[in-house]
Each structure stands twice: as C-alpha cells, then as structure tokens.
C-alpha cells in the first residue's frame, strides 16, 4: 500500500513539474494559463502537498455570505476565533485552527500554497481588506489532533477575490462543512461550488442554519433533497441549527441531528462527529477524487493535452500559409539589361588581358570613346538626357517589389479574415497603415542604397571565373582571338569609324547588344569575324556561342534569384519578424519529450486509481 502510495506521490510530482514545463513550451499557442484550471489547482494545492504527507484532514466551513459560517466555525473552535458581523462579506481571509504541535511537524505554507500565512493575533484581522491572499492560523487545544479546521470567505458575494480564496481552500480540503440556509440552498453560485466538491469526492457535512423550528420541519428534507440532487453531494451528516441570533452570538447554538422523526430533536456535537470521522478512508477518498478530476479526459489534464494538440495543428496550417520561401518569386523578376551585363563582362575581360594586348586595347578604347563623345553628346541633346540602364532597371525592380509587397499584404488580409483568430491581433497589426508606411519606407531606402553595379560585378566575376575554370580551352581560344584582334586593331577601328558603324553602333548600342551571341563576339573586341577568317572561328564559335548563351541565361537567373532572395529576407526581417519562427516552434509541442512524459505518467497513475 505505502509503496504504491509513494510511487503515486512521485508520479504526481512529475506530472506537476511537466505540466509547468508544458505551459512554458506552449506559451506561443496562447492557451489560457494553467493557474485557474480546476485540475491543475487540485494537482498543485491538493495532490502535491498531501500525497506525501497524508496524516491529517483539512476541514473547511464553507457557504454563502452572511449565513453564519463564522458562528459555526466558532462553535467548532470552542471560542470566538473568527469575528462575526451583521454585515455581509465580513470574512475576507481564511482562518485556520491547528492542533498543538502540528505546525512543528508539518510544513503549513506548502499545505496552503498560494496563501500568505500569518499567525492569528485577533479575531478582526481576517475581516480586513488586503490584496494578497492571507491565511491566519492559531494553535488551539480544542482542535482534535490531525485536524485542520478552517473558516473561509464567502462564495457568492460581490467581492470576487473571496470566491477565489474559498475555492483554493475547498481544493485542499478533505471535509467540507456546508452551511446552507433556506434562502441560499438553491442559489446558482452555491450549487456550482458544491458540485465541484462532489466531483472531487470530498466528505460533506451539511448544516442548515437559521432553521425555523418547528415551521421548517417539513421543508428541510426537501431542501436537502434538492441540494443533493442538484450538486451530487452525498452528505455524511446533516445538522439543523435553529434561528437564534442571541445563542449564536453567545456561541451556544445547539445543533440537532437532521433526521426525519416525530421525536424532539436531540442535540449533538458537531466537533465530536468530525473527530470520529474515518481519517484514512476520507483522505484516500479525497485524494483519489482529486486524482480522478486531474485525469478526467473531458476536463482534466488529458483535455489540456488535447487542447495543445488541436491548437498546434491550427498553428501548423497558419505556419504553412506564412512560410517565407514563397514570398518573392524570382520568375517574375525583371531581367537585368543586357547592356549592363555586357559592360560588366567586358570590364572583366579587360582585367584578364595581359601585356601588349592590354595596352593596345586600352589605347584604342580610349581613342574610340574620345571620338564617340561628340556623338553621344549630340544624342543626349537630341533625345534628352537618357536614364542610365541601371537606373531603369532599378525602377523596374521597384515595381516588382511593389507587386510582391501588394501580394503579400493581400495574402495576409486573406489570412486575417479566414485564419486563426488567435493570430488575428498580430496580423492586424502587420496589416495596419503604420506598419505599411514603415515597411515601404524601409524597402525604398534599402533598395535605393543597394549598389546594383557592385552586385552584378560580383556575380559576373564569380560566373566568369567559373567559365575560366570549367572550359579552359574556350577561354584560351577567346584569348587567342583577342590577341589577334589586338594585332589588327588599328585597321579595324579605322575601318569601323570610317564606315560609320562605330557612331551608329554607339547610338543604337542598347538595341544592338541584346543577344548573347553578340556578347560573345563583343568579348573579342567586336571585330572578330573581320579579323580572323570565317572558317577559322566558325568551329569554335559555334560551340562556344551555345555555351555562352547558356552561361548568359544562368547569369540572369542567378541575379534574379539573388535579388528575390534579398527581398524575401527584407520582408521576413521587417514585416513578419519572429512570427513564422514562433509558429514553427508552436507546432512541434505535441512531439516534444515533455508531452510524451505526461502521457506515460498519466497512464501509470490511471492504473493505480
């Protein structure tokens, strides 16, 4: 017996600590807190302290406001331990009578966890308003050993904190002395309170107070019947206390045994009956009752687990909806103008030139651009200053960013309207005007600050270095052509200029330089075919043209992907923040180890019930 008991105590401890862990883990799921849940309060206030230390019974006098709880408590105490008042909601803090030596043998604060314990000094202390939950205790010789007797605040008054205190005492109690009157025995608040007590299998003693004897003789059995039927309470004893204010004030109120008979009522001692209760049986019963409530599949810990699972699943779908990898599609990204890419490739190629080839090309390029200058000035004058292609690209890219942002907001809007109501406040905040202004401003500044030229240069360098390593022959071949071109550069440049191709080509530059083949040709100085014989390069160029075409496409795709991922990163950092990660974390709670431990522990306890 004791070994299973100890094992159970261990399980309960584990259950409690894992419940706390789970609460921390699942805080992102925004479930209502554990505190305030009946099963958890029982676990914490009843099972945890009393499983290990079960050699006492907690007896609590409970009931509505102003029906004489304190009078009955004083009767049990044998003295005016608790102050009485004609006004309602007098008792605001519980008062506990402790048998001599109990406080030394037991840890009172852990028995009444959540209460701030004070030693009793005067009867009025419990009437004073105080925001924290206090409990006044005093040692009383009149208290039977191994009994803690408590007076509690009311359960139906307009001071709601009193209810909370009474509930907490109810949870750790084993025996409840239910004080009822004809006015209150069928009140909703009273019924709700005792229904919970019945579910937790507390031993209940009913005292009908302020009974009119003999007028109410025929009524109290009906009251009792209604009360028991409504709440499910099965009382151990029933007592009647007559309506006698003076006797009550003088603490000499008689208690009659509540039995239906024609004989005059016999007085009895409430206290004796209580001390004659079967300690062990009642203790076991209430512990088991509480454990049953904790393990109840509909309202206990399993229901909490189910709640976690359900919400976690809801969050999972939300998490999928908001996943960031689909935010910005690189397919829709505008292509980088070829002229820019070609320019960058040319620059790269120039860096690869060595020795005299470099000198020759640089010399003629300088002369060429010098001679073309008037033409470009003329063009600018004629057609107006032209926006540089990179700036044009930047504008197009901004349009794409706007498209993406619009679609993201659209998706969020849809999500806010159909998605999880728990996430709605956060989503609404994202959708709000302030957030939009900030996001757009941030994106705009960051986008304007982005050095696109630098980006493309880096990419070109990486890609072209790749070419040099992958296809050394092609690279060598191109280089060889370049040498050749350098040798005849004076001739070709003059020819081109004289025939007018140079200036015209410059004017229509952007249109002309739009295909990859020309890019390949451009590398060789724009004059390859004129220099080397057609047949000499046709073989090599045919294969290398295809190769360059593919490389060129890849360059574009890479660049688009790079920019798209930049946008996705910006959106993730500045719009969503931690939300997707949090959602992701929230969805894995049911797979956690803690979750499994709880399941197992509950199974073990179930088998011990």
């Amino acid at each position: 017996m004791s070994s299973t008991y100890a094992a159970c105590a261990e399980h309960v401890r584990r259950l409690h600590s894992t419940a706390r862990q789970l609460e921390v883990q699942s805080r992102l799921l925004q479930l209502p807190p554990l505190a305030g849940r009946e099963w958890f309060e029982l676990l914490e206030r009843k099972l945890l302290p009393q499983m290990a230390d079960d050699a006492f019974l907690v007896v609590a006098v409970v009931g509505g406001t102003n029906i004489g709880k304190s009078v009955i408590f004083n009767h049990l105490a044998g003295c005016r331990a608790s102050a009485t008042s004609p006004f309602a909601s007098g008792t605001k803090h519980p008062v506990c009578l402790v048998p001599p030596g109990f406080a030394e043998r037991h840890d009172l604060p852990s028995i009444f966890c959540g209460f701030d314990l004070h030693e009793w000094s005067r009867a009025d202390a419990a009437l004073e308003d105080h925001p924290e939950h206090r409990l006044f205790w005093r040692t009383s010789d009149a208290t039977p050993s191994n009994l803690l007797i408590l007076d509690t605040p009311d359960i139906d008054g307009d001071v709601r904190v009193n209810w909370e205190r009474a509930d907490n005492i109810r949870r750790c109690a084993d025996v409840l002395v239910a004080v009822l009157t004809q006015q209150k025995y069928n009140d909703a608040a009273v019924k709700q309170f005792f229904r919970k007590a019945a579910e937790e299998d507390k031993a209940v003693l009913i005292v009908f107070n302020q009974v009119l004897i003999p007028d109410d003789e025929t009524f109290w059995p009906i009251w009792l019947h209604t009360f028991c039927q409504e709440t499910g309470v099965q009382p151990e004893f029933v007592y009647l206390a007559p309506s006698d204010r003076r006797a009550a004030e003088e603490n000499r109120l008689p208690f009659y045994v509540g039995q239906v008979s024609n004989k005059p009522h016999e007085t009895c001692s409430l206290k004796n009956d209580i001390s004659a209760l079967h300690f062990r049986e009642i203790k076991l019963r209430t512990l088991r009752g509480s454990l049953r409530t904790v393990l109840n599949p509909e309202s206990g810990f399993p229901a909490y687990l189910a709640e976690i699972e359900r919400r976690s699943a809801e969050f999972k779908s939300a998490s999928e909806l908001l996943s960031t990898h689909q935010l910005a599609e690189s397919n829709d990204w505008p292509p980088m103008p070829n002229s820019v890419v070609v320019q960058e490739v040319r620059l790269w190629w120039q860096q690869q030139r060595e020795g005299w080839t470099k000198k020759v090309h640089n010399f003629y390029n300088a002369i060429g651009s010098g001679m073309l200058k008037p033409f470009s000035m003329l063009r600018n004058r004629w057609q107006g200053e032209r926006t540089p292609p990179l700036e044009q690209y930047r504008q197009r890219e901004w349009q794409t960013i706007l498209d993406t942002v619009e679609s993201v907001y659209e998706r969020l809007r849809w999500f806010a309207e159909l998605g999880n109501p728990l996430l709605q406040p956060r989503i609404e905040k994202l959708l709000g005007g302030r957030s939009r202004v900030e996001l757009l401003e941030l994106l705009k500044t960051r986008h304007d600050l982005t050095d696109l030229e630098h980006e493309i240069r880096d990419l070109v360098a990486i890609e072209m270095d790749g070419v040099r390593q992958d296809r050394p022959q092609t690279f060598q071949f191109m280089k060889w052509i370049d040498h050749g071109a350098a040798a005849v550069r004076p001739v070709t440049s003059v020819c081109l200029f004289v025939t007018g191709f140079g200036p015209a080509g410059h004017a229509v530059h952007q249109v002309a330089a739009s295909t990859a083949l020309q890019f390949a040709v451009d590398i060789a100085g724009g004059t390859v075919s004129a220099v080397a014989g057609e047949s000499a390069i046709s073989g090599a160029a045919a294969t290398s043209a295809g190769f360059f075409e593919a490389r060129f496409r890849r360059l574009h795709a890479r660049f688009a992907a790079k920019r798209a991922s930049w946008l996705a990163r910006m959106l993730k950092e500045h719009l969503f923040g931690d939300l997707p990660d949090e959602l992701q974390m929230a969805t894995v709670v049911p797979q956690s180890e803690t979750f499994q431990t709880v399941r197992e522990t509950m199974g073990l306890l179930e088998s011990n019930l």
């Binding site: 102003n66 309602a88 307009d158 009140d187 942002v405 907001y409 005007g433």
Partner: protein
Amino acid sequence: MADSELAQLELFAEIDELVRRLRDFVEAESAWEPLGHCRAILRRLLGRVETLRIRLEAPLVVATFGGTGVGKSSLVNALVGRECTRTGRERPTTTLPVLITHPDTNLESLGLPLSEFEMVRIDSPILRDIVVVDCPDPDTSEGETAGSNLARLRKMLPHCDVLLFVSTQQKYRSARVSDELQQAAEGCRLLFVQTHADRDSDIREDWRRQLAEKYAVPDVFFVDSVRALQDQQVGRRPSGDFARLQDLLTSRIASSQRIQVRRANLLDLIHIAIAHCREHVAANLPAIEKLEAALETQRQRLHDAMTARLRDELVASQGLWERRLLTAVTERWGVSPFSSILRVYSGFGNLIASATLWRARSSVQMALIGVVQGTRWLSSKQQEREAESSLQRAASSLGLEDDLLRESQLVLSGFLRDAKLTTLSSNSKTVQELRQEAARVEGQFLGDAGQRIDGMVENVAKRRSGKLIRAWYETLLLSFIGFVLFRVLKSFFYDSMFAEDLRHDPYLSGAFYINAGVIFVLWSTLLVMMFTRRLHRGLQRQVDQLAADLARQRISAGLFPAWEEACRDIHLHSETLDVLAENARTVRERIATPVQFGAAR
C-alpha cells in the same frame, strides 16, 4: 392654459424632437463599423422608446426584483393586502411572473406580453394607479437557458417602470443579483426594500454604502411583510417603513407622477444609449484621424511630385517663356514701332513654335502657352487623353508614376483597415483606375497652375515694360529710323538743290538703302535681344517662387475622394451624436424626477 401646462407640452415637444432626430440618425448610412454598431443599439432603443411613449398614460408597472427567498412574493401580498401570489419556503417559489391588476385596468394598454404571466385581478386601492408584477429570481439559474427563471426575468424587465429591489441580510451583497440589477436598472426608477425585519438585523447602512457607487438611493425601507399582511387582514393599519412604502405606491404615484416617472425612464434610456455610443465612437475615432493624416500625407506627396515636375519643366522651357512674355508685352503696348518689331519677332517664333507645339511633349508647356491660346490645344489633348485612358497611358505628364499611386493605395488601405472602414478598403482600385484618378488630380492641379502662370506672366511683363523702358527702346529704334529718314530727306531736299559741289550725284544710291535695311534688321534684332534678355532676368527665381507657392497650397482632392468623403462623413455623424447627447442631457436636467425614487447614476 396654465404656464405649467404649457411648459409640460413644450417638454413633450422637445422629447419628440429628440426622438425624431435619433430616428434620422439611425436611418443614415455609413460604411464605418463603429457607427453601424451605434445604429444597431439606437435602433433597439427606439423600439423601447416607442412602447414607452405609447403607454405614457397607462398605469405604472411596478415589479419586484431580488434573489430567491428574500420575500418578494410576501412583499407583494403585503402591499396588495391579500394573498395573491404564492409564497413558500422552497426555492425557487415563483417561476412564472405574476401580474396583479385591478379589475378595471385595461390590460391591453400596458403593452405587456400577457401570455407570459400568471394573472391575478384584485380590487385593492394600491392597484388603482399601478400594476404589480411579482418577478422570478435572477440567482437560482446557472445560465440563461430557455424557460429558466433568469430568462423569464430578463424578458420581463424592459416592460417595468419601477423596480422594487428587495433584499435581506443574507443576500444584499450577492454578486449575481447586483450584476443583474445593473442591467435591469437602465431606464427604471428604483425602490430599495430590506425584508425579514422580524428576524434579521438592520443592514441598511452597509447596503446603502454598497449601492451608493452606482445608484442614487434616497431611501431604503426595512419591512416585515408577514406582519404587515396579518395587520391588514385583521383590519389594522400597517405601521413604520411598510406604511410609508405602501403610501408611496398608493397615493404618491398619481397620474401626474406617472408621466414623470415614465419620462424620466425614457430619457435615462436615451441618455445611457447615446453615452454608450459616444464612448464607442470616441474609442474608434483616433484611427479615423490617423487615416485622415495619412490621406493628407499622401495628397501632399502627390502634390510635391507634381510641383517638382512642374518646376523642372518650366525652367527647361525657355523658348516658350520668351514668346509668352513677348506676346504679353506687345499686348500691353498696343501699336508702336518697337512693339510692331517685337510682334514680328514673336510672330516668327510662334510660327516655328506652332510646329513644335502640335507635338508638345508636356501639359506643362501647354500651361505655359497660356489659357487663351492653349484652349484649342487643350481640348484636343483632352480627347486624346480620354482615348488613351482606356489604353495604357505611358507615364504621367506630371510625375505621378504608377509606383507612386500604388504606394499610396497600399499604405492607405492599411490605415483604412485600422479605421475599420473595411467595406471601403476591399474595393481597392486597379492601376488603370488609379491613373484615371491621377489624371483628374493633374487636371485640377494644372488648371490652377495655369492661372498662376498667366498671372505671373502678366506680372513680369508689366514690371519689365514700364514707360521709361518703353520710351528708351522706342527712342533707340526711332533714332535709327530718324537718322535714315534724315539722310534721305537731306539728300532729296538739300543736297540736290543747294549743293555746291555737283560733281557728286546728289541723290543717295541704292546701296545706301540696302545697307540701311540690313543695319535696321541688325539693330532691331539687337534691341529685341536686349529686351528679351531683360525679360528673362530673374525668371528662374520667379519660377522657384511659383513652385514654392504651389507647394504651400493644399490641393482640394486627392487620389481617393471616396475615402476622404467617408472620413468627413464620420466626423459629421460623430458631431451629430455629440449634439444629440447634449440635447438629451439638457432635457434630462430640466425634467423634475420624483424625488422618492432611486435610479442608476
């Protein structure tokens, strides 16, 4: 007619007016959610007000209210003086509300749902001016399920004029009952009664303290209903608090007080409902203000973009300025030698310009050309634009690019969402529609800018062509013409007749005329150039000034006139609500409430 009667009628008229305005308010439309909420509340209120008004003259409905077992039914029996409703020791005793009336009372006029009651008709003096309802309790039901006491009670409460709030030492601080009372007390007069005086202590002092926070409590009666009933049954007059209560209900609520009570209830109801609405609106108004600020910001952005572009183009179009100014000057000067010269030059310029004008690139240049000359061009441009709007308009002529428009819409729809103008935010515009709106805004802007440019041109022309300047240029021109004429006249009249040396041909040769012509052209060109230079001077500064003026100016409508309109509308409605509240308050203050009754604060 007595003055008091007249005042009475006036008051009625004012209440009627208040109700009418409330009705108008309820019927107006608004896309704003909080206002919709208010309308729903006020609509319900109007229903209740209507029933109250219909039975303004009917007997008052006095109902008991209180927890089970506090002796509501006993009190009713004692008040009526006869056993008419069941009392008991089992809880709850009363489940169906009991309606106790005088046999002569016309029940139809009360507007009560009679099928919900148990009916008792008794000839008792207290029932001559009131009807009494014994209500079920609010505190035995755990929820408002159909057929529960709570449900029955809640159905009853809106029909009651006076609530007898009954309680005992045990129950006066019961949370359920006081929560329920808070709802029930809206639009009701209250009377507070502590029963069970035979057994319980007097807790009225504490009770009054508890009640004082929410209610006006003129009096609390402490009664023993059982004894009072017994007294009456043996023909004794009841005494103490009970007698006062019975007296209050029997004789004080005469027909005149009856109207006062109802009117006070009615105004209380209106006051509470409007106060609630105002609170709701006030809580949501900051979002609207933010939206307005955002609309203003966006409008300003558009305006700035347009102004900047306008400025650039004005500065760039030097040639147009010149011609415009020259035309203005020649118009001012009328016919004179120098102005004729200027006209000839500007005529040449216009000839060339007209060719370029027909393919003018921007509407800014159009504005520069001037309203009068440009009208024809503008109308043709308008047609062109209309044709274009269905197609793609390449880019705005005033810098309102698609990006700008889309950004505006994106930001504003966020603020719209914050402001709970969801019905408006869902119909965001397509890029095409945005462009059309932008064209409208630009049109307005340009119209305004064109007028300013005209004014500026006039101004500059006036300042740069003063009499002195004119005289100077005219003199310079005429001095040349004068010199040539002098030479011609001299050679004709003098040289030919009086010249001594006749070896020379006395007449001027053809070469002279050719030279004179050429020099005239050069001279006049020089003068014109000098003059236009003069006109040009400080033009840049003038344009900057113009741009700055335009930037300071607020534009009347932005891209989203519907949204702006909605904001204005909301403010208007919220102000109406304030006015209504003020009206209700003044009327409520003016009416005399019977002092014996308590009420919600």
